[in-house]
């Protein structure tokens, strides 16, 4: 089982959600986050005074999938979230030791 953590543009959330639904990956957790990578931030001017806003708002999508679904899911996210400009985000993938469904106590793949 793999945990997929994708940092995407906030305006791409709907597209990513739809794309994941289309390939049959259900269930995700999202959060509003702030950060920056290569995209260094923007400058805003208020009454002639410039402020550099370097931590930009992004959306973090987290989901856990079976090993076999990893490529399908990441492909769906990549395609849906890409604009081609700096600031499109990143995907991090890591192994998951165990999953437990709290309601039933099921473990492993059947709990995904």
């Amino acid at each position: 089982m793999k945990r997929i953590e994708a940092i995407i543009r906030d305006e791409k959330l709907t597209a990513v959600k739809e794309a994941l639904k289309d390939v049959g990956v259900g269930g995700m957790t999202i959060s509003e986050v702030r950060g920056h990578g290569t995209q260094k931030g923007v400058t805003e001017v208020y009454r002639g005074r410039s402020y550099s806003v370097d931590l930009l708002p992004k959306i973090k999508v987290e989901l856990v999938v079976d090993d076999k679904d990893q490529d399908t899911a990441t492909k769906a996210i990549t395609e849906a979230a890409r604009t081609g400009s700096i600031g499109d985000g990143k995907i991090f993938i890591s192994p998951v030791d165990e999953i437990i469904r709290i309601r039933t106590g099921e473990k492993g793949s059947s709990a995904v």
Partner: protein, 443 residues
Amino acid sequence: MRRFSFFSAMLFILIAISTKVAFADEAVAIDTGDNAWMLVSCALVLLMTPGLAFFYGGMSSVKNLLNMLMMSLMCMAVMSIQWVFWGYSIAFGPDIGHFFGSLSMAGLHGVTPESMSGTIPEYTFIMFQMTFAIITPALISGAAEGRMKFSTWLIFIPVWGTFVYDPVCHWVWGEGGWALGMDILDFAGGTVVHINSAAAALAVCIMLGKRKSSNINPPCNLPMVMLGTGLLWFGWFGFNAGSALSAGSSASFAFLITNVSAATACLTWVICEWIGTGKPTLLGACSGAVAGLVVITPAAGFVGPIGSIQMGIMGGIGCYFGATKLKQAFGYDDALDVVGVHGVGGTIGAFAVGLYSTELAGAENGFFIGWDGAGISLLGRQCVGFLAAWAYAFGVTMIILLILKAIMGLRTTEEQETSGLDISQHKEISYHLELEASGNLKH
């Protein structure tokens, strides 16, 4: 016979006096139309202070937002009481040396339901002027964003009102005031309200010192600034058209002129920044609208429509540079640009009255209208008026602040400023997100 003629003469005099009194009573009979409009104006002007609170609050850091709102609200609370106790008497009581009124009307002593001010009951006039005495110290608060002890601010309001606002109000509008005697024109308070508060704001930001650069944040809520601008623009109709003190054509004239100037300066500011920094901003449009309202305040009942458009352009350009360049050039930290907008705008307005005022509006002709010596004389008197207000308000505010600094201190600690004045001065914050608010209720 001699005796008889003496009595008849006395009788004649008495009859003459009583007729005169009766005639005088008739002359100052209440005009209910005037009074109705003035009561509405009182409410309109009072609403400007919460409007100003939103205007300033939206521009401050989110951690100082409540403190910013509170500073304005406290002016409503404190000045309303100060005005009744002695403020009205110092501003409008019997003149002493052309400089301030005596305390003989303290506690509104001698004001009865029959007392009239022109065609309106004196009670209405007292209430109308009270709303001006409230918003003027509130305007100062923008300079103090994020670094003034709340306790000191609370003491500063009535002390400043007593020693700066009330006397300057008496000079310009009080019976016997020297500026009124010199025929210096200030229709609705360009000098009394805007220059007065801006000179004080300059003293406040110099005495407080600069904010730490890590505490200087972009505006926390621009929609709130827009809300404040809308309330200010709306309330300003009471401020300017109400200053006609009647519901006649002078009020209608001032109402129209006020709107035209605000609109012009709003557009002018946006064009200036579009050229200057590349983008038109909402904050710029809001700032421009307020600049246009400030600049027309001393002139609203005196200048014509085209004059008001020219004044709006001057105000838009002048205040744009005032707010974006002036403080950087001189290095004082006037956080929300009280000097840049109200100081520059108020001064341009007071000066431009000498250029554009017109006989059409019942005033004397300004220089650009009459092109004669009378216009130059008016221009000169206007300059005397605003220079005196700048000097007096700045000087006396400095003295007040020096005394308050020695007694109770002016500035919050660095630690308090870093955590924000909302939490350090008031122990509350603006927004509790659901997650943060999940703490247990303690009684």
